[in-house]
């Protein structure tokens, strides 16, 4: 693995009129790594990717791909890049093969090389035996795989995948995650966005957490988890209204943060073994009873909760 920088963004800004979608994003992705951008719906992930891949002009800032500025050398930057859009973008009325042949040409492939790459990709995405079939007859998972395959045709050094596993069955999802890791092993740099913290955790060398158009934390998984220190995350249900219980729990030693969401209480605590007995006791004092408890090791979800006071998944 070289030490080159695959993708660098420099103070990217984008607004859509009133909506400030991206406000000052700086990312640096090293060649050869898998980098995940983790954030809830509407965080601004797709907008960042659109700017990096040259589909949207930033209001401010720039991005480079392998040193090529997307605003000043768009063709060189785009040639080094494979982009898997979040929304499936393929021609439904063409066959899988026709799609690959066409997109391959758009990436500048020709002749025998094109045919060979198309055959290889058809194998990789497991559609070799369905290559002549019209895409409109494909299942969601097959379309997603074709959507990914198109971005890999020209063997780009860097591939950007925008939530490639949204809305598909666990089996297809597993296949996609495995192939991402396989591609990375072969030397491809992957920039991956997701709102599933498990995916970010499993895949990534580095993770940036994004919320409301900003990167609120970044680093390796271990580094990020350290932000919340030794905090444990507890999810509880009680049998009464939560207001009075939260009030009494707030001042309990060891409780760092407490939020209520959909009737469930989320707490960040220093040491669950010490804190939990007190929570039971104080709840009883105000006439409430804890009906269920779940203790979680610190993870990205905990980090997001810690930083934003909200759960990653709404």
């Amino acid at each position: 693995m070289s030490n080159r920088i695959a993708i660098q963004t420099n103070n990217l800004h984008k607004d859509f009129g009133e909506v400030y979608a991206v406000r000052g994003v700086n990312i640096e992705i090293q060649s050869g790594e898998i980098f995940s951008l983790l954030g809830p719906n509407g965080a601004g992930k797709t907008t960042v990717i659109s700017m990096i891949s040259g589909l949207l002009k930033p209001n401010q800032g720039d991005a480079t791909i392998l040193g090529h500025s997307i605003t000043h050398e768009p063709l060189a930057a785009k040639a080094a890049l494979g982009v898997v859009p979040q929304e499936i973008a393929i021609y439904e009325d063409l066959s899988a093969r026709e799609n690959l042949m066409f997109w391959g040409k758009m990436y500048g492939l020709r002749g025998a090389h094109l045919k060979q790459r198309v055959a290889e990709i058809l194998e990789t995405i497991g559609l070799a035996d369905r290559q002549k079939g019209r895409v409109e007859k494909f299942s969601g998972g097959m379309k997603r795989r074709l959507n990914i395959g198109i971005a890999l045709l020209h063997e780009p050094e860097v591939v950007i995948m925008d939530e490639p596993t949204v809305g598909i069955d666990p089996q297809s999802r597993r296949k996609i995650l495995d192939s991402v890791m396989e591609l990375n092993k072969q030397g491809m740099t992957v920039f991956y966005t997701t709102h599933y913290m498990e995916e970010a955790q499993e895949l990534s060398d580095h993770i940036a957490i994004m919320d409301h158009g900003e990167i609120i934390a970044s680093g390796t998984h271990a580094e990020l988890v350290k932000i919340v220190g030794e905090l444990d995350r507890i999810e509880l249900n009680i049998n009464t209204e939560s207001d009075r219980v939260m009030e009494t729990w707030k001042n309990t030693p060891g409780v760092e943060k407490i939020t209520a969401e959909n009737g469930q209480l989320h707490l960040l605590v220093n040491d669950s073994n010490l804190v939990l007995p007190q929570l039971f006791e104080k709840a009883a004092q105000v006439g409430s009873r804890i009906t269920s408890v779940e203790i979680q090791e610190p993870n990205l979800e905990t980090v997001f909760l810690h930083l934003t006071g909200r759960a990653l998944r709404d």
């Binding site: 063709l75 009325d93 066409f102």
Partner: protein, 438 residues
């Protein structure tokens, strides 16, 4: 190269789409087919407007003759009539009128009137004994009788119109002559009767070839009097209506293809494939060029298929090959440019679907108005003006001209106008589309 790839991909998609193929080929052909059935079959391309044929009985009792006069008219080989009665007979039985009237000759005027009374014929035309004589006499009066079946209206009215137009032509010459004679006499000169008759005869001889000088493809010199009192180019009247319908349909649907073909830009934008194209190392200009190319090629295929189909199946003679080819290219470019122009104002395929239908229909109707009003004896002038406000109008007129025998020198204004339309629409459209995808 990449723009060709994009064009080929687009064409593959549109020719694969049943919907597109329906609108490109099937509907215009079916519509023409329907009209052709309504108008009584194809192949009668010499036939002119197919009106109900009226049975006419012609009685020519004219005994006069201009034979032996100076400046003898029969020197003209096409013109071997020796009396006005014979001239009229020739005119009324001419091939060009066979669709309108079925003429049979009778000797007795009483028999002729009897046949009309018995509804064996719609009209009897009785040419009096003294027609030529009275015509040649400076002050004589002419009376051709048109005896008609009162229950019929359209047929006899047309016949009356034709006869009176013919006679008008003759009496016009007489009036001219009378005025001339008066002036000559006033100037104190004397002219003998034989001279006068020679002048009349020569004048009559000149009436005939006039019909030919008006660009009519037909060999029949009398065609120009088939639609009396028309102030338009009389050649319009000689085109097979099925051919006009086919031309109109083809032009209408070609412009529709221009618009709906370009609309794939919006569809691709909505489907995400256009942004995806922009994420490949392909310049925006190349992508737009590919789109324009695909629409252009598609229309060339469409127009060629329609013209060839019309020629082979409906037996339509589109006219001079070079003119038709250049006209088709101009039509193709203007309709593709029309598409880009139109789509540059649309935000979504939903909007475009409604707008394209509306605009193509309105402009198509405007452009085709001269076709719809072909049967009108005196179409108002605004019709021609309106039709020229739409490229469709220039296209339809162009085909009309080539079909009636026009050559490049007759249609170059139409070709030029279409190219101007193309450049203007293309310029505005591309400017706007470019701005949008910048």
């Amino acid at each position: 190269m990449k723009s060709i790839d994009i064009a080929l991909k687009d064409m593959l998609q549109s020719f694969r789409s049943l919907f597109a193929v329906m609108f490109m080929f099937v509907i215009p052909i079916l519509m023409t087919g329907m009209f052709s059935l309504m108008f009584g079959g194809s192949g009668n391309d010499e036939e002119g407007f197919v009106l109900p044929t009226t049975k006419v009985i012609l009685v020519n009792q004219d005994e006069g003759s201009f034979a032996g006069m100076p400046g003898e008219v029969s020197q003209n080989p096409e013109y071997d009539a020796s009396s006005i009665g014979q001239l009229l007979t020739m005119a009324l039985t001419s091939e060009g009128l066979t669709g309108i009237m079925d003429v049979s000759m009778m000797d007795s005027s009483a028999d002729a009137r009897f046949a009309v009374d018995n509804q064996e014929a719609g009209v009897a035309i009785i040419i009096p004994k003294n027609l030529t004589t009275s015509f040649l006499a400076p002050l004589g009066t002419v009376a051709v009788e048109v005896y008609q079946d009162p229950t019929l209206s359209i047929g006899p009215a047309i016949i009356k119109g034709i006869v009176s137009q013919l006679l008008d032509n003759f009496s016009a010459s007489k009036i001219t002559l009378a005025v001339t004679l008066e002036q000559i006499e006033n100037s104190g000169q004397m002219i003998d009767e034989a001279q006068i008759q020679a002048v009349v005869a020569q004048y009559l001889a000149t009436i005939q070839p006039e019909g030919q000088s008006q660009g009519s493809e037909s060999a029949n010199p009398y065609l120009d009097i088939r639609a009396p009192k028309t102030d338009q180019n009389s050649s319009d009247q000689t085109i097979n209506p099925v051919a006009m319908i086919m031309a109109g349909m083809s032009i209408f649907y070609v412009y529709l293809t221009g618009a709906s073909g370009t609309q794939t830009i919006l569809k691709e934008e909505e489907d995400g494939t256009l942004p995806r194209l922009f994420s490949t190392p392909t310049p925006t200009a190349t992508i737009l060029r590919g789109k324009f190319l695909s629409v252009t090629l598609t229309i060339i295929v469409q127009i060629t298929v329609l013209l060839v189909f019309g020629e082979l199946v409906f037996k339509i003679h589109w006219g001079d090959l070079l003119s038709v080819a250049l006209l088709s290219i101009a039509i193709t470019l203007s309709s593709a440019a029309f598409g880009i122009f139109l789509v540059s104002f649309m935000k979504s395929t939903r909007q475009a679907g409604i707008m394209i239908g509306g605009v193509v229909t309105i402009l198509g109707m405007a452009g085709m108005m001269p076709i719809f009003t072909l049967g009108m004896p005196n179409p108002p002038a605004f019709i021609s003006i309106i039709s020229h406000l739409a490229p469709q109008g220039w296209a339809a007129e162009g085909l009309q001209v080539t079909m009636s025998g026009g050559v490049l020198s007759d249609v170059w204004t139409n070709i030029l106008a279409l190219l101007v339309w193309a450049v203007a629409l293309f310029g505005i459209g591309v400017y706007r589309v470019n701005k949008r995808y910048k």
